[in-house]
């Protein structure tokens, strides 16, 4: 199980990256995270929503309701231009952390 710290730190870039691939809704986003991480990242689903709302507050994503077949509505999210910019920045930061760690770990005879 991945540490809580890492899960928390990675949650926003993960959501942004998934939305960068196209508009989606809560459940589908979580499924995608599970799928891509090959089940190593297991979120408690409900926790995703405050993250989505926070990203929405920061204007990184926007949401709209869509009427479903059963008369219920579903909230869909998509990335904004600001969100795309933020994602690019996140990627840069993660890449740099990753490169540094790889440098340190790759060098040892582990």
């Amino acid at each position: 199980m991945t540490s809580k710290k890492l899960v928390a730190a990675s949650s926003e870039p993960l959501v942004l990256s998934i939305l960068a691939q196209g508009e989606s809704y809560g459940y589908a986003i979580i499924q995608r995270v599970r799928q891509i991480s090959k089940e190593t990242l297991q979120w408690t689903d409900g926790m995703l929503y405050p993250i989505l709302h926070r990203l929405e507050r920061k204007s990184l994503i926007v949401a709209h309701w869509q009427e479903g077949d059963s008369g219920r509505r579903r909230r869909y999210y998509r990335l904004t231009r600001n969100g795309m910019r933020a994602l690019v920045e996140e990627k840069r930061e993660w890449d740099s952390v990753h490169a540094t760690l790889m440098e340190l770990w790759g060098g040892s005879n582990a």
């Binding site: 459940y27 408690t44 926790m47 929503y49 405050p50 709302h53 204007s59 219920r72 509505r73 909230r75």
Partner: protein
């Protein structure tokens, strides 16, 4: 047999009970739970197992409520409470002192400060934009784009600065009045009153009205559904 709709309604009630979630947020989570259930139904043999699994996956109500509570923003009741508390306690403090509240009522100073601030604002922005800014800061609904907020905040920013300036000017005016009337001590009182009370009114106007108004506007760079 599992009474799904009843369980769902109960879960919804629990989630709403915490008070941390708005109705649309509960609606969103309900959609999630229903979707989760539709999938677990395929994975598990019995309906109750599937329901359990869907619930576990979605997360316990207490934890969800806690997470949402962290993100919560201000209710309009808090605004009203804050202002009422400030003014109420201030009046109480003044009344308890020698001379009571009437000691602090000085019409010429009030007019002076209000005229400068009001006039300055009208000159800078025009009455239409002022009305809009006032309305915007008091309303709890309707979303605001960040750029829209900036232009409205400018009004409050200017008002804040004008208030303090009016206070300082009032102080100087009162001071001059005192100096001009030094030979006649009975007139000193007027000058001194103008001095201090202009600054007093200016500070109140700046910090209670404009600073709060501005903060309320900035709080509204959120979607409508978060407030009120």
């Amino acid at each position: 047999m599992l009474d799904f709709e009843e369980r769902m309604a109960e879960w919804r009630r629990e989630l709403t009970a915490g008070g941390a979630l708005r109705s649309w947020q509960v609606e969103e989570l309900e959609d999630h739970l229903r979707t989760a259930y539709s999938f677990t139904l395929e994975e598990f043999a019995s309906e109750s197992e599937a329901w359990r699994a869907a619930l576990d996956r979605t997360g316990c109500v207490a934890a969800i409520t806690q997470e949402f509570a962290k993100e919560q923003t201000m209710r309009p009741q808090s605004k009203a409470l804050g202002i009422a508390l400030t003014i109420g306690l201030l009046l109480f403090a003044l009344q308890s002192g020698p001379g009571g509240v009437t000691l602090f009522v000085h019409i010429p100073s009030m007019i002076f400060v209000l005229a400068l601030v009001g006039g300055g604002l009208v000159a800078s922005f025009g009455p239409a934009r002022l009305g809009h800014a006032l309305q915007a800061s008091l309303r709890a609904s309707a979303p605001l784009e960040p750029t829209e907020v900036d232009s409205l905040v400018a009004v409050f920013q200017r008002g804040y600065r004008l208030s303090w300036m009016a206070g300082v000017l009032g102080f100087i005016v009162g001071f001059i009045q005192m100096i001009a009337n030094l030979p006649d001590p009975s007139m000193l009182g007027q000058g001194l009153a103008t001095c201090s009370l202009c600054l007093f009114y200016a500070a109140l106007l700046a910090e209670i009205a404009f600073a709060n108004g501005r903060q309320w506007l900035e709080n509204r760079t959120l979607t409508a559904e978060y407030l009120g």
